[in-house]
C-alpha cells in the first residue's frame, strides 16, 4: 500500500476515544512508517493552513481521523480537495484501533508501507 499517512490527534476535544487515539499513534510509531501527525485538522482548516493543500495535492492520503464526510469538507473549507477518491479516511470515532491500523498500514508487514513524509 503506497501513499502518505496522516494522523489527526483531535487535541482540542474529547470526541475521539482517548484509548483509540493512543493505540493508533502507538501502532504507527511502532510500525516504523513515515507519517505526519497533526494536532487537530479542524484547527488547521479554520486557519486555512496551506499544509492541508500540500497534503491533498501530494501522494494519495490515508487519514486516521473522524467521519469521512467531515474530513473531506474540512479539507475543502481550507481550499484543499481530497474528494477525488484517492484519499482513504479511517474513522477513529467509530472504528477500533485495530481496524484503523489495518486500513492505514494494510499488510501484516507494516514496515513496507512508509510513504514519503512530504511532497
Amino acid at each position: 500500500m503506497s501513499g502518505h499517512i496522516l494522523y489527526c490527534h483531535c487535541a482540542y476535544a474529547r470526541v475521539v476515544p482517548i484509548e483509540t487515539k493512543a493505540a493508533v499513534l502507538e501502532g504507527l510509531t511502532r510500525a516504523d512508517v513515515e507519517f505526519d501527525a497533526v494536532p487537530d485538522l479542524c484547527e488547521m482548516a479554520a486557519r486555512r493552513d496551506p499544509r492541508l493543500e500540500e497534503l491533498a495535492s501530494g501522494a494519495p492520503l490515508r487519514i486516521a481521523a473522524c467521519y469521512p464526510r467531515a474530513v473531506q469538507w474540512l479539507f475543502a473549507s481550507a481550499g484543499a480537495n481530497i474528494s477525488d477518491g484517492r484519499a482513504v479516511i479511517l474513522n477513529m470515532r467509530t472504528d477500533s484501533a485495530e481496524q484503523v491500523l489495518q486500513g492505514i498500514l494494510g499488510s501484516a508487514n507494516p514496515g513496507e508501507n512508509g510513504g514519503g513524509p512530504d511532497q
Binding site: 510509531t29 516504523d32 512508517v33 507519517f35 494536532p39 479554520a46 469538507w73 473549507s77 470515532r93
Partner: protein
C-alpha cells in the same frame, strides 16, 4: 475567507534506533501542545519546507527528556513569533456542499455573523471564531442536513453519513417563515407591537420573566444551545437589526446566484 494563514512551527522526528516509549511520549506531548509532527525514518527524507522547523534526532530522544524537547519547540515558536495553538477550541460549522442548496437559512439564522456570501453568491463560513462553542443550532435549521460540526457528539451533525430518516425529519420541519405568513420579520414586528399594547394593560414583569425563562429552556432543549450562548445573545433591537441585515444579504445573494 481571505485572511492569510499564520505559519506554524513544524517538528520533524527521525525514528532511528530509539526507545519506542520515549519517542511515542515525545510525539504525543508535541501534539497535545499543538505542534504538527513529521515522523521520518532518516534525516535524508526530511521535508523541505519554508516553515520554521525543529528537527529532533534519535540522539535527542535518547538523551533528552520529552518535556525538555517540548520546551525547545516552545522556545523556537516564541523566537519566530508564532502564536500558541490551543487557545481556541476549533468549533465552527463545516458545509457539505454536496447537500447545500444555498438557501441561506443559516445566514439568516446565525446572530453571530459566522456566515457570509462569496462574490459569486455562495454561502460560506467566513468568521469561524465568532461561532459559539458547543452551539450547533444553525445545523438544526438547515433543511438539507448540510451543516456539520465535526466535534459535536451526535450524528449526522458530527459528519456521520446522512440517513434517509435524517432527511425525512428535516422535511417535516415547518418553515417558520411560511407559517408566519411569508415575512417573519414583519410578523415579529406586528407581534411586538401587539405585545406592547397588551403589556401596557396587563404588565406583569414577574410573569414575563417566567415565560421568557420557559421559552429559553425550550429553545435550549430543542436546538441543544448551551445556556452560555443564550445568555450572550444580543438585545432584541440588536437581534432585529442583525436579522434584517442578514435577510437583506441573503436576498441579495439569492438574486446574485439566480442571475448568474
Amino acid at each position: 475567507m481571505t485572511r492569510p494563514a499564520p505559519r506554524a512551527l513544524r517538528v520533524v522526528v527521525t525514528n532511528g534506533r530509539t526507545d519506542l516509549g520515549r519517542r511515542l511520549e515525545t510525539v504525543r506531548a508535541l501534539l497535545e501542545k499543538g505542534y504538527s509532527v513529521s515522523c521520518i525514518r532518516s534525516a535524508e527524507s526530511a521535508p523541505t519546507t519554508s516553515d520554521p522547523t525543529v528537527i529532533i534526532g534519535p540522539e535527542d530522544i535518547a538523551r533528552t527528556d520529552p518535556s525538555a524537547l517540548l520546551a525547545i519547540a516552545d522556545k523556537a515558536r516564541e523566537e519566530h513569533g508564532l502564536p500558541q495553538a490551543g487557545a481556541w477550541k476549533p468549533w465552527f460549522p463545516v458545509i457539505d456542499y454536496q447537500r447545500c442548496t444555498n438557501c441561506m437559512q443559516c445566514l439568516s439564522f446565525c446572530l453571530f455573523d459566522v456566515y457570509g456570501v462569496s462574490s459569486d453568491g455562495k454561502i460560506q463560513v467566513r468568521n469561524q471564531s465568532n461561532c459559539k462553542t458547543e452551539c450547533p443550532a444553525c445545523s438544526r435549521v438547515c433543511p438539507e442536513v448540510a451543516i456539520m460540526f465535526p466535534k459535536y457528539r451526535h450524528g449526522p451533525i458530527n459528519g456521520e453519513e446522512v440517513k434517509a430518516d435524517d432527511v425525512r425529519r428535516e422535511a417535516m420541519k415547518v418553515d417558520i417563515s411560511a407559517l408566519l405568513g411569508g415575512d417573519i420579520y414583519a410578523a415579529l414586528r406586528d407581534r411586538s407591537a401587539r405585545a406592547k399594547s397588551r403589556f401596557s394593560k396587563e404588565r406583569d414583569d414577574e410573569r414575563a420573566l417566567k415565560e421568557r425563562q420557559t421559552c429559553l429552556v425550550k429553545l435550549r432543549q430543542a436546538l441543544d444551545v448551551p445556556a452560555e450562548v443564550l445568555a450572550a445573545l444580543p438585545t432584541v433591537d440588536e437581534i432585529r437589526a442583525k436579522a434584517e441585515a442578514a435577510l437583506a444579504r441573503a436576498r441579495q445573494a439569492a438574486g446574485t446566484s439566480s442571475a448568474s
